[in-house]
Amino acid sequence: MDFLIFKAPMLMVQASLDGILLGILFALIAYGMALQWGVMNIINIAQGDLVILGGYIAYTMYLAGIHPAWGVIVSPIIMYFVGVLLYKLVINKVVDRDLFISILATFGIAIVFQQLMNFIFGADVVVAQSEYGTTMLFDNSVTLPNSKIFSAFISVLYAVALVIYMKKSRLGRAIRATAQNARAAKILGVDTEKVYAATFGINAALCGIAGALISITLTLHPYVGLPYTVRSFMIVIVAGLGNLPAVALSGMGLGLFEEFADYILGTEFRIGAVFMLLVFILVYRRFKLSKKREYLK
């Protein structure tokens, strides 16, 4: 335990800014999670591994001499097809079934992804240098990497674009119709199979963007996918499905929590704190729900 942060107000500003910028990135991943959960009723444990895979695509570009920021355009395109392929191979068989089956099946996918990434990219912690420099605030007492500001900006941009796309386009409307009532949508001529494939593809593309941003702001490692899954799961539970402002807000809240936990508990407990928060949120939710009057349907 270290309470230095409460004695130095500048550290607090630093942690808050870091947390909010990071939280926006988490919200983007959570948005993808909410999308597939709402439309297909599956929980994707491999979400975080899709993020990391997207990050490695940007990292590969960086190794090839291209600026990794271009990854935010290339990575989602590749990841869209990865997502569609994954849907055709596995996900379409778990869509209408018990949620636990989707959890276990995607857990299997996550293990495969982790190991394949370990083979291809090695087990080292890597980071793609964006060389954007840092911004100094408040007499140089708060340092803010420009890459973080860039990543938050890109996240917001993509999120807004996606919301408009979901509202206006034909596919967006089909996705929303399927989410409301898959059977009715089918009767009205929506090819739900295609909608599901596209939804999973879009989710993977979102993960690709987030991954590319993570490759320049944080670090990549084949086995760090699960925390991202858990973070997005948490944000979705707190915010609810399909409530975008709430997703953004709870994303930022999570970011703040993590940065403060990092300062107070120490970096070695950071991931542990995230998982404990998950447990607390679920337990809190359980007690809140149990207060409601129940009746037998």
Partner: protein
């Protein structure tokens, strides 16, 4: 009374189990693993199969048991903090008596404390339903691993070397035999206990909770009480299994050995599903098959084993969700004491 056929089967299995370390002397460690895997699969089956609460969290009790046994075994005679500092295990040496006393008390503690913890957190955690429960327990297991990896007194990130087998015993086979018989005794204990549950009202209540918890509650069953009891039973045996495993492996790492969600945590779910959840023999068969498959294939596909594991999970979950016993049951319903009314079945088919 036990039927004669059963009697022959069980006595045959016990004799086989007792003779195994002498027959397959080179595979004692593997046989110990097998016993522990069967115990884990059977206890998982109590939650996932009978109660319908698919948990990833039993690894929590397994890891706790591992740390508790080792800590007690060391802490009874030597200062724990100095032991876990680098090279501490070389300064302090357990005598034979100390070693066995330590492991005995340690195992006792590692059975009781996880059961108490399961009871304490049970009310909060078991109130969650379905996938929320699954994700929550997954989080618990990983959080425990991450937190254990930050605590200095149990070795933090660098691990915890469990006391080595006393050097005064010259028989080189003794260590393997000791752990094998320990785990075999645990296996028999677990099997007898689970079989007892299978014949009791408790199992029917668990099944009622699985099939429809609200209705079970409406029937006047205090579901929470039974859910917590079931979880405590699992925790008891998982803790023991962990304690034995810690002694056998000889080294505890927070995320790779103790709270090993990526291996043991998944294995226990997979084995129970492979064999058929919700049956007495399913997890036993599933664990045995899985262990043979794993040991046979692991070395052949070195480096690719996790890819194979992931693919195996996907295939089993998608194509064999009912497992081996479920498949047999579908194929030979008479063997399972089910009578199928042909007329009724035809009517059902026509209705569809």
């Amino acid at each position: 009374m036990m039927k004669q056929k059963d009697l022959i089967l069980y006595s045959g299995l016990i004799i086989l189990g007792l003779a195994a370390p002498y027959l397959f002397s080179a595979f004692k460690v593997q046989l110990t693993y097998l016993c522990v895997l069967i115990v884990l699969a059977m206890t998982w089956n109590l939650q996932g199969g009978e109660m319908g609460y698919n948990t990833f969290g039993n690894i929590l009790f397994y890891g706790l048991g591992m740390y508790l046994t080792a800590s007690v075994q060391v802490g009874m005679f030597f200062p724990l903090a100095e032991w876990t500092e680098s090279g501490g295990e070389k300064t302090f040496v357990h005598t034979t008596a100390q070693y066995f006393q330590g492991i005995g008390v340690g195992l006792l503690v590692s059975a009781i404390i996880p059961a108490i913890i399961a009871g304490a957190i049970g009310y909060a955690i078991l109130g969650l339903r379905g996938h929320y429960f699954a994700i929550c327990t997954l989080g618990l297991g990983i959080a425990a691993g991450e937190i254990a990896g930050g605590i200095e007194i149990i070795g933090a990130g660098q691990g915890f070397t469990t006391p080595p087998f006393p050097a005064e015993i010259v028989d080189t086979e003794a260590r393997g035999k000791f752990f094998y018989f320990l785990s075999f005794a645990l296996l028999i204990g677990t099997f007898v206990f689970v079989k007892y549950i299978y014949g009791s009202r408790f199992k029917l209540i668990l099944n009622a909770i699985r099939d429809n918890e609200d209705k079970a509650e409406a029937m006047g069953i205090q579901t929470m009480k039974y859910k917590i009891t079931g979880w405590m039973c699992s925790a008891f045996f998982c803790g023991l299994a962990g304690g034995i495993m810690g002694g056998l492996i000889g080294y505890i790492d927070s995320t790779d050995v103790a709270f090993d969600g990526r291996e043991m945590g998944v294995f226990m779910v997979l084995m129970a599903i492979l064999g058929g959840k919700g049956t007495l023999w399913g997890p036993v068969i599933g664990a045995t098959l899985f262990h043979f498959f794993k040991e046979g294939l692991w070395t052949l596909i070195l480096g690719w084993q996790y890819v194979a594991l992931g693919v195996l999970i996907v295939v089993i979950v998608i194509y064999f969700p009912e497992g081996l016993m479920g498949w047999l049951r579908e194929k030979y319903p008479e063997r399972f004491g089910e009578v199928i009314d042909e007329k009724d079945r035809k009517a059902q088919v026509e209705l569809k």
